[in-house]
Symmetry: C2
Subunit: 123 residues, 2 copies
Amino acid sequence: MKAGNKTSGARLRIVLEPDIAIGPGKADILEGIRETGSIAAAGRRMGMSYKRAWLLVEGMNACFKSPLVETRRGGQARGGAVLTPDGEKVLACYRRMEVLTAQAIDGELAGLRVMMADISERT
Amino acid sequence: MKAGNKTSGARLRIVLEPDIAIGPGKADILEGIRETGSIAAAGRRMGMSYKRAWLLVEGMNACFKSPLVETRRGGQARGGAVLTPDGEKVLACYRRMEVLTAQAIDGELAGLRVMMADISERT
DNA sequence: TCGCGACATGTTCAAAAAAACATATCGAGG
DNA sequence: CCTCGATATGTTTTTTTGAACATGTCGCGA
């Protein structure tokens, strides 16, 4: 697995408008596109159907003034997708927010953990 | 409405184990119980069925070493629920984390907003 | 001992979300 | 002009989730 699989810790969801948001899943897709050069490959990598991945991309593109992902069909590479400058910015921004959040709540999180039940004990 | 209705900003979900977490909804329920003295009233207040609210409470109780909510049936008050000391702690801790998060990502969030499409333009 | 209000649970039905399946399109290159 | 892999969408099926409804329990106080 590549990213977004933290089994414990904080998850950040940035709510831009009621309904529209960017969370761990969309950030991972952006990252996947950036690394693989295609929506399909990014989706496959995270065990997600192409359709679903594409839908999320469409949603993100519609949410910003300028699209975050640019796609090409056919051609020498037989299609593909890349992050636009804004796409890179949004991804980097989200990742920074994740780090900042983790740092900010680190102490509080430790306080929570001492109250948590051990995972092992299942009835 | 009382709480948990931010239309914009960050939402925090603390993932304790895969599947189980405490997020805005559960925090609001804890707060509701604390203020109303009953699961039912807390649920009503946030437009949620008693069953659903109770299910969430059960989930939280099971997730920590010691229950966060203590309930009583019958009696002079005809039943009710209160936060245990741990419940108070968890709620306070979560609210602090919300504030810390908001402060930590404030600057980055501003950067995101300038790229966002205006809400008004709907096709 | 009956009623009240809240806890505790089970069941059933509807809505929403995700997965699965099916095409259609594009365009360089063989 | 046909192939190839990826984008772009539509349709159908399945799964998950949530809402709705139905019961049963509890224990004090009238």
